[in-house]
């Protein structure tokens, strides 16, 4: 569970988020949508601890983690899949996973979720395709055994056949019940299908929010058209 309360944050003197509040309950899934530059990624980076807040607080399972470094938040159950299919390019696929744990059964478990990675364990991550890197990124995050999972545009820039696979995995994760998910996604239809609540962010402010599901599609499109 994560609670973002009245957060104002940005880069240097330029504030990108203005008094933003958002909550993902235990086992809940919330999608954050908005146009480019609305502050979605900044919001996630604040939640993870990569950007300090100017004001406001971030609570993880009720604990104030506002001043905690990202690694400290990971140890408290937060998992983060960043934008842009990020991996450690000069390490192999297996080494990327072993960075989290060397427990072979745990690694096998996440490889069952992404079987395509099995044949690529010895390949350097920098030589994987975008889709394979994104699968690796999600697999690596799942290895940290998060209770609160944050995903930043997980299907962005990936070939369609892999997108379907990743969408299926994320939808399964949001249905698990023991995992809270905060998802930033440009594909509105998928985001609403996978989550049970949504918030629309415009110019660093939450302008609209409500129940998720495909029935909310028109409301979200209307909110984003403003």
């Amino acid at each position: 569970m994560i609670e973002i309360k009245g957060v104002t944050a940005g880069y240097g003197r330029t504030m990108v988020l203005h008094d933003v509040s958002l909550e993902v309950p235990v086992g809940g899934a919330v999608a954050v949508m908005g146009h480019n530059g609305a502050g979605k990624t900044t919001l996630l980076r604040v939640a993870v601890g990569l950007i300090p807040v100017r004001s406001g607080t971030v609570l993880l399972d009720g604990e104030d983690v506002t001043g905690l470094r990202p690694s400290g938040r990971v140890r408290r159950g937060l998992g983060y899949v960043p934008q842009g299919q990020q991996a450690f390019p000069h390490m192999t696929t297996l080494e990327n996973l072993q960075l989290i744990t060397t427990d072979r059964s745990a690694i096998d478990e996440v490889l069952d979720t992404f079987p395509a990675l099995r044949g690529l364990l010895g390949r350097r991550a920098g030589l994987l395709s975008g889709g394979q890197r994104q699968q690796l990124s999600i697999a690596r995050t799942l290895l940290t055994r998060p209770r609160m999972l944050i995903l930043d545009e997980p299907t962005e820039g990936i070939q369609p056949n892999v997108v379907a696979e990743i969408e299926e995995v994320i939808t399964d994760l949001t249905r698990r019940g023991d995992l809270s998910v905060l998802l930033v996604e440009q594909h509105v239809g998928f985001a609403l299908r996978a989550t049970d609540r949504y918030s629309v962010l415009e110019s660093g402010r939450v302008t609209s929010s409500g129940e998720g599901g495909e029935g909310a599609l028109d409301a979200v499109r209307a909110a984003m058209a403003v």
Partner: protein, 294 residues
Amino acid sequence: MDSFTTPLLAGTATGALLLIAALGLALTFGQMGVINMAHGEFLMAGAYTAFLTQQVISNTDISILVAIPVAFVVAGLLGLLLEMTVISWMYRRPLDTLLVTVGVSLVLQQLAKDIFGAQGDPVESPGWLDGNVDVFGYNWPYRQMFTIVLALVSLCVLAALLKYSSFGRQIRATVQNRDLAETVGVRTRVVDRLTFFLGSGLAGVGGVAVSLISGTNPRLGTTYIISAFLVVVAGGLGQLKGTVIAAFAVGIATAFFADWTSASMAQVATFALVVVFLQLRPQGLFTVRSRGLA
């Protein structure tokens, strides 16, 4: 044959010394990007540790073996202290780091002069390093061979640590993408400090090897620091194999130039050669390719 084997073997030993000096830099500069001009003084600290160990343990056969781990820890702690008090405030400010560490380097040299005197002290080599072996007419001293063995052992230990240990993976992850490393749970500040400890400690081990060949000297570090930086840059940043090849290439080239001209001209010629090489290949000997990844 002697005109070939003499500079080749002596140059290989010099290359080994450069390699030990450069291995630590390959971590702190090549991997972390920190320009630490005081790195040479950690070499000096290692040399003085060898000297002091001999004052405590008079049996030179044993003292040199004790000096190696002690020098690693002493130089490592100095590096850790420097990282925590100075460098940690200056990450991503390379010019500031360079200027401040030049100052630290001068302070450490003066400190060594005040404590040990300006002249330097000899470090006796152990009995098992006295003597030499005849290789195609060149009497190759055991001390030089010991330097090569020490360099290769240090290299193998470092390479294995980086490749196979959890700590090594954390160092590589932090170097390749600091933010990402943090968000998968790597405590990058702790990794920074331990990396600096390791890199500085390696310089200390190099200092022990240097002390066997040229004794101690407060200015010992300045002899090696520029060459060590050149070796790391010419080898390609972040690449241990490049550092190895560059160290031996520079050592052997310098020995051949010295054989043909003089010692000082050899330094000039080698530096000129490296500069020309870097003009042609600014990325150094080795680079790592990836598919358009940040």
